[in-house]
């Protein structure tokens, strides 16, 4: 019996260690993806710097040696550029997975958009091996350049959708609190003085008004977000900033509504 007891004591840490190690890995996907993205960005910066130096030397000397170095460094930079964009898309994918506000169908829809871009970049990166001249490298770069507006639009639309998902999770909580308040107000209609009851009814209406304003803003954001793909690369950033401002305004409505709900709860807490 004592032997069995000792055996269990020895086995316990052996069984617990893998469990303890695996739990953080399973729950830290987006931070890990972000670290990978930062690493890829660092690699990209280095390869881009090497590319710039090699390009300048080639344009200065036009020698075969400088041409070969320029070709090698350009190919490495093009490949790393795809790797960097891929790492960023993977980060967005993790953020979509972790978002509490999306329905599963919406997650699938958004992941499909991101995965299509990852597939494009993988195929593009695969062609880097066949580059044999600086003209080939330029042509390969132009492939990404011609697709870049689409890619940038999808990146921005996904970022906005992630924010909308965050707000959606909060909206669910807000709506639950609002419906719980309404039920309590209905149930306690006879317990309060008529004057207080009228105040409570008016406050409830005001909370619903704020909720409506919030909803209108969300619809406005969704329309603007869908229209991002009609814009040029230059107009994209301005529109993106505008939508971010709208997201802040939507959150403000929700925060105001939360404050009103708090006042209503305090009013319901006391008889007088």
């Amino acid at each position: 019996m004592k032997f069995l007891h000792y055996c269990l004591l020895l086995l316990l840490p052996v069984l617990l260690v893998p469990f303890v190690l695996l739990v953080p890995l399973a729950s830290a996907s987006s931070p890990q993806a972000y670290q990978d993205y930062l690493y890829q960005f660092d690699l990209y910066r280095r390869t881009y710097s090497d590319f710039t130096i090699a390009k300048n030397e080639y344009e200065k000397f036009k020698s075969l040696t400088s041409q070969t170095t320029a070709l090698k460094n350009t190919t490495a930079m093009l490949s790393q550029r795809d790797g960097l964009l891929r790492a960023y898309l993977l980060l967005l994918n993790e953020k979509i997975n972790e978002n509490q506000g999306f329905q599963e169908s919406r997650k699938i829809e958004l992941r499909a958009l991101v995965n299509a871009e990852i597939a494009f970049l993988d195929a593009h990166k695969g062609r880097a091996g066949s580059i044999s001249s600086l003209e080939d490298a330029t042509a390969m770069s132009q492939e990404l350049e011609s697709h870049y507006r689409v890619l940038q639009t999808i990146l921005r639309q996904t970022i906005i959708n992630i924010s909308l998902g965050d707000l959606s999770a909060l909206t669910r909580q807000f709506d639950t609190a609002l419906s719980q308040s309404k039920e309590l107000v209905t149930a306690s209609r006879s317990t309060f003085a008529p004057q207080k009851q009228a105040t409570i009814d008016r406050w409830l209406l005001q909370i619903q008004n704020v909720r409506q304003l919030y909803q209108q803003k969300i619809v406005e954001i969704e329309i603007k977000n869908n229209k991002l793909n009609e814009l040029s690369l230059d107009g994209l950033d301005g529109a993106f900033r505008g939508i971010k401002g709208d997201l802040g305004q939507a959150k403000k409505y929700l925060t105001d509504g939360r404050g009103f709900l708090g006042e209503l709860i305090e009013a319901l807490r006391y008889q007088n």
Binding site: L91, T138, L167, A177, K244, G248, Q271
Partner: protein, 135 residues
């Protein structure tokens, strides 16, 4: 007139000779100022004493006046208590539905505080695409 004759024949003319000095009657001893030892008049002693006492008094009074005041810990006056309105809990406040509503509200508040819609992690990378090789 004989100019060499002494003006006062009785008075011996000092010649500087030791013989002549020995003849002259001894002159009274000259008293020097330093050697005068007269007792101070009583009036002066009284005056000095009065001045000294005055100075000491002034010093004492000055010390008392300039003495740093002992910090007096002022007891803050308690604000006049205003009668707290008696608030009676409503019948709903004790219901489980009310505490659930409270929890939902607290959870919503925490969620709103924690949500950052402008997450800096998500800012997309900015890249310089054209290679820029001169043809």
């Amino acid at each position: 007139m004989d100019n060499t004759s002494p003006l006062f024949p009785d008075t011996p003319t000092p010649t500087g000779d030791s013989e002549t000095a020995a003849v002259l009657p001894p002159s009274p001893p000259i008293e020097t100022i330093t050697s005068i030892k007269r007792p101070l008049p009583r009036l002066w002693i009284i005056a000095i004493g009065v001045i000294g006492a005055g100075l000491i008094t002034v010093l004492i009074v000055n010390t008392i006046i300039n003495k740093p005041p002992v910090p007096i810990s002022e007891v803050p006056q308690a604000p006049t208590p205003t009668p707290t309105p008696v608030r009676i809990l409503s019948a709903i406040a004790t219901q489980s539905a009310f505490s659930i509503l409270n929890q939902t509200h607290a959870s919503l508040s925490a969620g709103l505080t924690a949500t950052n819609l402008d997450d800096p992690i998500l800012s997309p990378p900015v890249l310089e695409l054209p290679l820029g090789f001169k043809p």
